[in-house]
Subunit: 105 residues, 2 copies
């Protein structure tokens, strides 16, 4: 059995770009995903995020990919499972107040 874990790319915290993050968060499904993850306060299986927004898995995978690529979320692979978390500390450090705006709006 292999311990190989496929590397999932994430932008480092000091390379997060405000414009890209705003653009990515400015979509109701993705805002709902961010709020689901924030409420959980921990990583969630991708299926739990998908279940919370009530859309097809393929649609949700697309939105989760955009969130990860913008640096809003982190995706961790464990076997065939994907665990998603909000990069709350990274976002808060780089753009203070942004997460609160996203959660309150």
């Amino acid at each position: 059995m292999s311990n190989h874990v496929r590397e999932i790319p994430h932008p480092p915290a000091d390379r997060l770009e405000l414009a890209a993050i705003l653009r990515t968060c400015g979509e109701p499904v993705r805002l709902a995903m961010i709020r689901t993850l924030a409420e959980a306060g921990t990583e969630l299986k991708s299926g739990a995020v998908t279940g919370a927004v009530g859309l097809p898995t393929s649609t949700c995978s697309y939105h989760l990919k955009l969130l990860r690529e913008a640096g809003v979320t982190r995706t961790r692979a464990a076997g065939t499972e994907r665990y998603i978390s909000l990069r709350r500390d990274d976002l808060e450090a780089r753009f203070p107040g942004l997460v609160d705006v996203l959660l309150r709006g």
Copy 2:
């Protein structure tokens, strides 16, 4: 001489939508326009906004239209002149902290 002023439509403050605003602000030229208007602290002629970002007038008009339609800015017509202002109070009332994030980021 006519006193007719063409009505320029703006979404009312209580109808501002976070997703639309984030999406609209998530573009470097539009962020630069928002910062120019915030620094001015008052309305600016559209030409002054255009001059600040250094892009063709037609491109800037397009970006200013999107900002107005999302409710981020207000456009006032006076003769052939257009005066642009940031709807800072409306934004702050509806999405506290958002403007600070946009200006700091």
